[in-house]
Amino acid sequence: MSRPGFVLEVDRSTPPILFHHGEGFRLEKLPPGSRVVYPAEPVAPLKDPDGAIRHALLNPVGDSQPLPSLLHAGMKLTIAMDNQAVPLPPMQKPDNRQRVIEIVLDMAAAAGVDDVELIVAHGLHRRQTEPELRHMLGDRIYDAFAPHGMLTQHDAEDHDNLVLVGRTEQGEHVELNKRAVTSDLLIYVNVNLVAMDGGHKSTMTGISSYRSLKHHHNVTGMQHSRSFMDPPNSELHNSTWRMGRLLAGAVKIFQIETTLNTDTFPSQFSFLQKREWEWSARDRASFLATSKSLEHVPPRIARSIFHGIKSPQRMTSVQAGEVEAVHALTLQNLHRQHLVPVEGQADVLTMGLPYLGPYNVNSILNPLLVMCLGLGYFFNLYRGKPLVRKGGVVIMSHPTRWEFHPVHHPSYIDFFEQVLAETTDPIEIEKKFEESFATDPWYIHLYRNSYAYHGVHAFYMWYWGAHALQHVGQVIIVGGEPRAVRRMGFKPASTLRDALEMAEDVVGRNPSITHIHNPPIFLADVT
């Protein structure tokens, strides 16, 4: 039985707390009285995941028939799946998607279905490379489908292959991948890493177009998603649910959702998911060895070491059937692993940002992604109210180098150099610059033909932090490159102690402090 997450109150005997810090770590002594939120230990995985998948497909939830009875010869079947933005880090083989799709394909073959297409639902994300696809799906699926053009990556700018399904009562365009919506059955396979994912959001972001996305990927929407990790209180989800229901009326959808436990790091990094006072001699030794050797390694090499990490996360649940019924179960299963009750808000929220977020698998966590990971994802890992009070301070720890991946994030470079040089206000940015980046032919060319995120994606990164920007009084980045940190309107600090002193100027002396010990991921249930 795994132990639940909990809140530790720091006293004199508390050892230094581990902060993630990009491709490295820091041990920080937090002032007595500070609180540290620890995630739950990984819950027990399914003993027989394949059996559980089969069981879920045969016993769907909600208004749905078992999968085999939905399959018949001569039908047009499309299987869409989450892209490699989840899980993080990428999981050790076999990936949930490989397991599920192999079983689905077996059933389809048994039913004599021969028109099957796989679509990686990567929305405006970059295309995945062949090795990345092989890792996610396994060689068997890849070799059977890719050479025949039956494994495709959604192209949100291929207007010949997009269809406007309709518009919601609110006027939202539901424009999606043509193959998916003209199929007799659309199966969506997901890996539900956090509560933001899954449900109708899967199709509405994964296989839609910019025209569709901008109804929920915008500043106002994000400012009214409190948080976007809590679907009932999220404008992002309100919109995608409206649009998803419209789609569900137009095409038969069979949703398959899976959850994972938080066994995030392989054994050589196991100290990352232990509580510091419980570190064994071996943990201490491997921490020392790891952080010492990282100090002497150029960032580039450190990056490739970290991006080689494949996580041992394992499947904890699988549910299939009608989208909303499936997702309700998924959330329950997620909460079982993620929820940690926290009482009250703090003046200062501290967090250590790791090397990886959803948008830099095999890439660089550039400054914009640092902002998005800290103020977007980590800040929003709450239900109820934010961990930090209104007007409080967020202190993040990350090297925040002025570095960008020129192939993956070309529009980010220009966003950072041109847009942020002018303003950091999300509303103004959206109004003044979004359209031109979104419709820029060069970015579209790179998105479609190279391995680049869409031109507008950099904006979404900034919007993802819009709620936090509106809520907090100051953002400080410990150890960040001052030039890059200032460009985003934040303050650089060289040590946590300095940062806390700077924070006092905003929130007053002796502030209350909450640190989130994340990853492994949790969701704070703040009352």
């Binding site: 580039r300 180098r401 960008f404 991946h405 020129p406």
Partner: protein, 790 residues
């Protein structure tokens, strides 16, 4: 009264566009209202003598007072009193037509002030103008039977390098005068030109010029190199003749070719003058005006000015001179007044006379005193460097000429060596700018060296120029004339003259920084960028390699060739490419076109479709090595409506993914036969001067203006293309181009790869990229046809 004596008189002047001539014309027009002037002016390269006179004489600031006096009547007054005739003192008969010759001959006075003042002109040019010039004027007047009085401006330094008193008399009448036949000197000077020219055409010599041109420009292509080679040859000939002049003058006891030719001219004129009365006026070093037309008026950068400014800028502290020696400086207005007074007085009774206009005798300016005054001035009014910091004028060391020269020579030599070392290093961009800085420093050093060589003698002269006759002239003048035409050198207060009159005027002319602090407004880079990104521009053409992308054709090939190789063959391939690297690099440096032709043969036998498909994977490598600021710049040009053009020797399939960035792409293409590439190019690749033609043709076809176009390139081999447009931009320039760009004031960009971009150590396709689909052939590995064997 001088004005009355000269009223109704007609005065011809040569050299009126010069410093002294302009002052003379102004003074005559303003202070002798009754006289008429005939100006003998050489036609400019594209301008008539009249237009030249209007711009260069009457447009000068000297006429400020007269313009104010006459108001709108100025032009009418000039038209009424001044006739401009085309003529050239370096041509027999002064190049005058019959009418003009008659007009000149009809004058009452002819003032010959035309000369090459430069102390380092080639011997034949100096002889032609300085020696034969006055001879021709005298002959013209003699042959025409003219009654005119010839006033010839010479120099006090005709006395030569000597100590003691220099007499105010004809040279033949003075002791220690060197006897040489001026006619044979002229013949020798002309011969020297022919000899130097012949020697410069010697094959070995031509090879040296070619090598030098190559060293400076790199692989800039035959036409540019040829032009540069010819320039080097011409310069070599000129240098030889300068040296010939200098050494001939020295051998005869004159400091330089100027004094030497002037001295011979004085003798020659007396010999050929016949009945023509000649008066010689010998000023010493003419500097800015004491009072007329206004204090501090000066024209052009003269002898002492560059030295003074160099000192103020802290570049020069080693100007040789004897502290107790006299620097004989004379304000221009005193010389002008002397000439006018002499003209009014008329010829000497015996037909020839000499006046020396110098200060050394009565009102000497000692070298030590001058140096102190200058130093004081610059300490109180410092010049500022480019960072807005004041420059402290250095302590002056009164070293001997030999020591100063040796020190400067050592410095220049060391800088030259450092420069050629750096230029040969494979660096570019910011680091390459070090050559430009070294070159600038060496230029400054060389200039200082020139000053010392040229002018050193003038600060070391220990001669005292007798001015007794000038004094008697002054004493004999009516008080009213004395009030208007000052010949008295005693009025000059040197402290006032140096610190209040001369230096401020010089500093103003030199356009150096005289205020400190950071300048307001956009800096040079921003101004350059703004001008390049003006909506008025037409074409923005880009080179590819090292301008937009830090990659090259060898890398592209390696990637494409290795993409489908199994591991063991990849290793062999890698070693093979590494081994060939230096040879390929050398070939590329020699001739880009040959290199491409040679290298692209490696694609022989490669399946075209597969190469084209793989090139899309190569795109990632190109983007990884691209300069985001460069890509952004292309897009900025496009957004402004400029035509964007990529001109590259890279292959079409390699640049295909970049095509959406540009309106048009000019690149190399390979012949395809039966689905395979042959390794031969469809047409000549756009390299070197061919690129200049490409962009010129493109502009012509589209009706766009090259003057309004921008070219971005990184290497000296792109010079023809860069020079073809009005707005060249050097991007991450290699040393040679960096030096050229800096010298010519081109806009310079330093673009870098995206910081943090992954660095592929070898340009090989990433492993794990397995061929998709088994229908594609597997390339074998043998020789240079890795891509080819199916």
């Amino acid at each position: 009264m001088i004005a009355e004596v000269l009223a109704g008189k007609r005065i011809a002047i040569t050299g009126s566009t010069g410093f002294l001539g302009t002052a003379l014309v102004e003074r005559l027009l303003r202070s002798v209202p009754g006289c008429e002037l005939v100006l003998i002016v050489r036609a400019g390269r594209r301008t008539t003598p009249l237009a030249r006179a209007k711009r260069e004489i009457f447009g000068n600031d000297a006429f400020r007072t007269l313009r104010a006096q006459l108001g709108d009547g100025f032009d009418a007054e000039i038209a009424r009193r001044v006739q401009v005739v085309a003529g050239d003192v370096s041509v027999d008969g002064l190049g005058l037509d019959a009418e003009a010759a008659a007009l000149v001959a009809s004058c009452d006075t002819v003032i010959h002030s035309a000369a090459i003042v430069s102390f380092d002109s080639p011997i034949d040019v100096a002889a032609e103008v300085n020696l034969l010039g006055p001879v021709r004027v005298a002959e013209l007047l003699r042959d025409a039977g003219s009654a005119a009085h010839l006033v010839a401006v010479s120099t006090a330094y005709v006395a030569g390098t000597r100590r003691g008193r220099a007499a105010e008399a004809a040279l033949g009448d003075t002791p220690f005068s060197t006897e040489v036949d001026w006619r044979s000197e002229i013949a020798a000077a002309r011969r020297a030109r022919a000899d130097a020219d012949a020697a410069s055409r010697d094959p070995e010599q031509l090879a040296i010029f070619g090598k030098e041109a190559r060293k400076e420009l790199g692989a800039a292509g035959p036409p540019l190199l040829a032009a540069k080679t010819e320039k080097r040859r011409e310069k070599w000939v000129a240098d030889r003749l300068v040296e010939a002049g200098r050494s001939r003058a020295k051998s005869l006891g004159w400091p330089d070719a100027y004094a030497y030719t002037k001295a011979l001219a004085e003798r020659a004129v007396l010999e050929v003058r016949g009945h023509v009365p000649v008066t010689v006026v010998r000023p010493s070093i003419i500097e800015s005006a004491w009072a007329e037309p206004h204090p501090g008026w000066i024209r052009g950068f003269r002898m002492a000015e560059p030295v003074l400014i160099s000192y103020g800028r802290g570049l020069l502290s080693e100007f040789p001179g004897i502290p107790e020696g006299v620097v004989d400086v004379i304000p221009v207005d005193i010389v002008v007044a002397t000439i006018i007074t002499v003209a009014a007085k008329g010829p000497e009774p015996d037909g020839h006379g000499v006046y020396q206009v110098a200060t050394g005798n009565r009102n000497p300016l000692y070298y030590r005193n001058l140096v102190n005054l200058v130093r004081e001035y610059f300490l109180d009014n410092p010049l500022y460097d480019s960072d807005g910091q004041p420059i402290v004028a250095p302590d002056w060391s009164f070293s001997g000429r030999g020591k100063a020269l040796r020190k400067l020579q050592r410095g220049v030599k060391a800088l030259g060596q450092a420069e050629s070392l750096v230029a040969s290093l494979p660096i570019r961009g910011k680091r390459a700018e070090i050559t430009a800085r070294l070159e600038e420093r060496r230029d400054q050093g060389e200039r200082a060296l020139d000053y010392v060589r040229l002018y050193g003698a003038y600060a070391e002269t220990e001669a005292l120029f007798d001015d007794t006759r000038l004094r008697s002239l002054w004493d004999a003048m009516a008080p009213e004339d004395q009030a208007v035409f000052n010949l008295d050198t005693n009025v000059v207060d040197w402290r006032h003259y140096v610190q209040v009159i001369h230096l401020p005027s010089v500093v103003r002319q030199a356009r150096v920084r005289t205020t400190g602090g950071v300048r307001e407004g956009p800096n040079r880079y921003e101004r350059g960028k703004r001008s390049i990104l003006s909506p008025d521009r037409h074409i923005a053409a880009f080179d590819l390699e090292n301008t937009l992308i830090a990659s090259n054709v060898v890398e592209s090939y390696s990637f494409l060739a290795s993409r489908r190789l199994p591991d063991d063959e990849r290793a062999r391939f890698t070693l093979d490419m590494l081994r060939q690297g230096p040879g390929l690099l050398a070939l590329d440096r020699r001739d880009r076109g040959d290199f491409l032709r040679h290298f692209y043969r490696r694609y022989e036998g490669a399946p075209a479709d597969r190469v084209r498909a793989d090139a899309w994977e190569l795109f990632s490598l190109l983007l990884t090595k691209s300069f985001p600021a460069g890509i952004r710049r292309v897009r900025e040009h496009r957004a402004l409506g400029h035509r964007t053009l990529l001109i590259t020797g890279a292959l079409d399939f390699v640049v295909e993914p970049l095509r959406p960035l540009f309106d048009d792409v000019v690149c190399a293409r390979l012949v395809e036969r039966g689905g395979l590439l042959t390794g031969e190019m469809v047409d000549a690749p756009p390299t070197g001067e061919a690129r200049a033609i490409v962009i010129a043709d493109y502009a012509a076809a589209e009706g766009l203006s090259l003057a309004e176009s921008v070219v971005y390139a990184d290497s000296a081999s792109d010079l023809p293309m860069l020079e073809a447009v009005g707005h060249p931009v050097a991007v991450n320039a290699e040393p040679k181009l960096a030096a050229i760009a800096r010298k010519r004031g081109w806009h310079i960009e330093q673009w870098t790869k995206a910081p943090g971009a992954p660095v592929p150590i070898l340009p090989l396709a990433p492993r794990g990229h397995r061929a998709t689909g088994d229908d594609l052939p597997r390339p074998g590995l043998s020789g240079r046809h890795q891509l080819g064997r199916a």
